[in-house]
């Protein structure tokens, strides 16, 4: 919340203040139990034949000098999958375990823990140590009942995900996220809503898919920017292969009046504005992805979203909306109508007091109102759960203009004939370059002939990249492209949308300019959060470890070159997680390249040299299939 004190940085615990015997406490943000209580928790766990878990630290309220204080305690996070089993087998009465361990073991053993009365009974026996997670201002700790409830929800969610055959490994915080999403509807069963606002890179889409797949009554509706429709279809097919997916998009769209139960319909905000079929269906879950799209309550899309009938209404955004009160109101007005009151009243009661005169009372009140319906976790908070590098492929769609240019270029090349031998190689290479440029942006392909006035809305990839970079607000991003012209288009456009000049580091810059850009990116807190680089410039031994995200705007034939660029931002032993996003346009040569990369990476770096050459060696029919993305 704006101007609310962030959770006071808790001091590290003094070892003498630890109880000296093992304790267990449920951490809601991580969605798992944490072992603590002795100076060397791992050794104590080993001594009892228990899995060591992952090292982390947690803010807990424990007795220090006779009163409860929030301190940072070293913990080992139990793996919710395996370690609960180990906990069940534990011979607690004889070991040097705290009562917190005993009560959590009891909770894990009770099949009926989700049942209110059983839960209350166990809760009554729980010592404070078992649920000593303090609130932000350090005045209260999570209650035993709430901790048990969250624990039971996590267990049940895991079981449901297994039944639904969701084919993904959920990290503990993601499991907690799915459980939270499910709980939004559980309170009264009838309706509910909320905002999943995890920082970009934490897997919001996967958590949403977990929710959709475990509510099999369906049908569900996913509304996302047009640039993401293909990506949703892909991700649903990958993680929930048993879920029927209907893409409702394009001029020839045709929605069955009653989609099959459990089906997920994916559509774009553009369609939502004008479509009659969508409001006629009784939806179970409505997902509004990239909910910044409905930040203006007067926009057609926002009004259409508010009118859609759905039992559970979820907005997803990586932008910290709680800092922009108008947006927060607009989004919650769709997911949780009435929660914040009418818009004019919200301005009087909250927006003006908080934004204009920084009223802590109004901020605290708003925070309390919103907190149950907003889940936001940052990479820093769940660092222990994250691998050092996470790769994700974002599938983009061609716009109508791109599709036309692409088809024309392919048709022309084949009509003219590609010839054979050296000549064929030259012509195939020229064609590939043209197609890659069209995927990037029509303006790059058309160059001086481009008559378009605006860059937005003409390239699925360009729009998606712009949305992503706007969303990564608190972190630093490197964007690689192999084309100078593309880098310049991006620099121009992003400088406008981000409201700050976005620099472009390319081989044409002198070493001094390059150094200055790198230094600013690494060390200057006011430097623009985005740095564009030509892929070639990445060969210059740059050190750009401040980046939390790397975006590959276009594909290079050789994955090793991309990896080298990625490694500019990642150093072995670096204690922070890096997200690597690769943009791929569906149904184009880019998909073929992506598939090729996968197989090359699988060959452990044995790179089969000349990919363009390999394409030139294909027959016309096979080449055409590759160019139209039909081989991938």
């Amino acid at each position: 919340m704006p101007d609310l004190p962030a959770p006071a940085a808790a001091p590290d615990v003094h070892p003498a203040d630890l109880p000296g015997r093992l304790q267990l406490t449920f951490l809601p943000a991580e969605g798992t139990l944490a072992w603590w209580g002795t100076a060397d928790v791992a050794a104590a766990l080993r001594a009892h034949g228990l899995p060591e878990g992952r090292p982390s630290s947690a803010r807990l309220a424990i007795p220090v000098d006779g009163e409860l204080r929030s301190v940072l305690v070293p913990v080992r996070l139990a793996d919710p999958e395996r370690d609960v089993d180990a906990l069940l087998k534990l011979d607690v009465p004889t070991g040097p375990f705290g009562d917190s361990v005993r009560t959590w073991r009891e909770a894990a053993r009770l099949p009926g823990i989700a049942d209110g009365s059983v839960r209350e009974e166990v809760a009554a026996r729980m010592p404070p140590a078992a649920h000593a997670v303090p609130n932000d201002d350090g005045t209260a700790v999570m209650s035993a009942g709430a901790a048990l409830g969250a624990f039971a929800r996590t267990l049940r969610t895991r079981a449901e995900l297994a039944v639904a055959a969701v084919d993904a490994e959920f990290r503990p915080y993601q499991l907690a996220g799915v459980a939270w999403l499910r709980s939004l509807a559980e309170d009264d069963g009838a309706s509910g809503g909320g905002v999943l606002a995890d920082e970009m890179g934490l897997g919001k889409t996967l958590q949403a898919i977990g929710l959709l797949a475990t509510r099999r009554a369906g049908p569900h509706l996913v509304v996302c920017p047009t640039s993401l429709v293909a990506n949703w279809r892909r991700e649903l097919a990958r993680f929930a292969p048993g879920t029927p997916v209907i893409v409702h998009h394009g001029p020839r769209r045709d929605l069955p009046a009653a989609p099959p139960p459990g089906a997920v319909v994916v559509t774009g905000y553009g369609v939502l504005r004008a479509d009659d079929a969508l409001p006629a269906i009784d939806w179970d879950v409505l997902i509004l992805d990239e909910a910044q799209q409905i930040k203006n309550p007067d926009a057609l899309a926002s009004r259409a979203a508010a009118r859609l009938p759905a039992r559970l209404r979820i907005a997803m955004t990586g932008t910290p909306v709680e800092n922009r009160l108008g947006e927060l109101w607009a989004i919650l007005n769709v997911t949780n109508p009435g929660l914040l009151g009418p818009r004019a009243r919200f301005r009087q009661r909250f927006a003006v007091p908080i934004e204009r005169r920084r009223s802590p009372a109004a901020a605290a009140r708003l925070n309390a109102l919103v907190a149950p319906y907003l889940l936001r976790r940052t990479k820093a908070e769940v660092l222990a759960d994250l691998p050092p590098k996470q790769h994700s492929t974002i599938t983009c769609t061609l716009t109508a203009e791109q599709e036309r240019l692409y088809r024309e270029a392919v048709d022309r090349a084949f009509a003219d004939g590609l010839g054979s031998g050296i000549e064929r190689r030259g012509r195939v290479l020229a064609l590939l370059t043209a197609l890659k440029q069209i995927c990037n942006h029509p303006a790059q392909y058309l160059g001086a002939h481009d008559t378009g006035e605006d860059l937005a809305g003409r390239s699925g990839k360009f729009d998606r990249a712009t949305e992503m970079l706007t969303e990564i607000a608190d972190d630093r991003v490197l964007v690689f492209t192999q084309y100078r012209a593309m880098g310049e288009l991006l620099a121009r456009h992003l400088s406008g949308t981000l409201g700050t000049p976005v620099p472009f580091l390319h081989g044409g810059l002198g070493p001094e300019r390059r150094d200055r850009l790198v230094q600013a990116f690494q060390n200057d807190p006011d430097a623009p959060p985005v740095l564009l680089l030509s892929l070639r410039a990445a060969g210059f031994g740059l050190n750009l470890t401040r980046a939390g995200h790397v975006v590959h705007y276009d594909r290079w034939w050789n994955p090793a070159v991309e990896d080298q660029a990625t490694d500019r931002a990642h150093r072995i032993g670096q204690r922070r997680a890096l997200n690597v996003h690769t943009l791929v346009t569906a149904g184009t040569i880019e998909e073929h390249v992506a598939a090729m990369h996968e197989s090359k990476r699988a060959l452990a770096g044995v790179v089969a040299g000349n990919a363009e050459g390999a394409l030139a060696d294909l027959s016309d029919a096979d080449l055409r299939a590759a160019l139209e993305g039909r081989t991938a």
Binding site: A16, L68, P127, A140, L339
Partner: protein, 196 residues
């Protein structure tokens, strides 16, 4: 444009107490507004018939009369809440303010019905600290209009029930932090000798 003081009908009613239309502007007004604006009014508590705060180091309070026709007030409140539909927590419908007006019930009290008390040395009763407290009250009522009712009627509702999801730290005995309630056997960790 939302007013800094008196953004809602409820705050605006109390603004008339701070700035009566009939009287010449108080020369302390700019200073008092500035104190409220700059968060110099702290620990503001609002209870039936009383507002207390600390202003620039001075304990200040305002006492004021409750509504004398409590029954009529309750009737109007009940009716307005029935008609209003769902309300955001802490809010009141502006229709209720209008109903008060048409029934001749004043939301706020006139300046001479206030009994200010301040620890400062100023001789005038409504010192700059008391006036600043009034401005802070107006802002607080704008944020939470329901306080306008709490201020002028006997507390007939219980305070918000404690949230079942949170246990206040003040209710936890540090000596029993590690021990299951209701079990008396076994060594208690709190009895360990602490070495620093």
């Amino acid at each position: 444009m939302t007013a800094e003081f008196g953004a809602t009908a409820w705050g605006r009613a109390w603004l008339r107490t701070a700035e009566p239309v009939a009287a010449p502007p108080d020369r302390l007004r700019p200073k008092a507004r500035s104190l409220a604006r700059n968060h110099a009014v702290t620990s503001l508590t609002i209870t039936a018939g009383q507002v207390e705060a600390e202003v620039a180091g001075h304990r200040t309070s305002l006492r004021l009369p409750l509504w004398d026709d409590a029954e009529r007030v309750e009737r109007l409140v009940a009716k307005a809440l029935d008609n209003a539909g769902p309300l955001a927590p802490g809010d009141l419908p502006d229709d209720l303010a209008a109903a008060f007006r048409s029934e001749g019930i004043a939301i706020a009290v006139p300046p001479d019905a206030l009994t200010p008390d301040c620890a400062c040395a100023a001789r005038r009763p409504l010192c700059v600290h008391a006036l600043a407290t009034l401005y802070a009250l107006i802002q607080r009522i704008d944020e939470t209009p329901a306080l306008a009712l709490d201020l002028r009627r006997q507390a007939h509702q219980l305070p918000d029930p404690p949230s079942p999801d949170w246990t206040p730290m003040s209710t936890i005995n540090p000596a029993h932090f590690y021990k299951s309630p209701g079990e008396t056997n076994g060594p208690t960790t709190s009895a360990r000798t602490r070495v620093r």
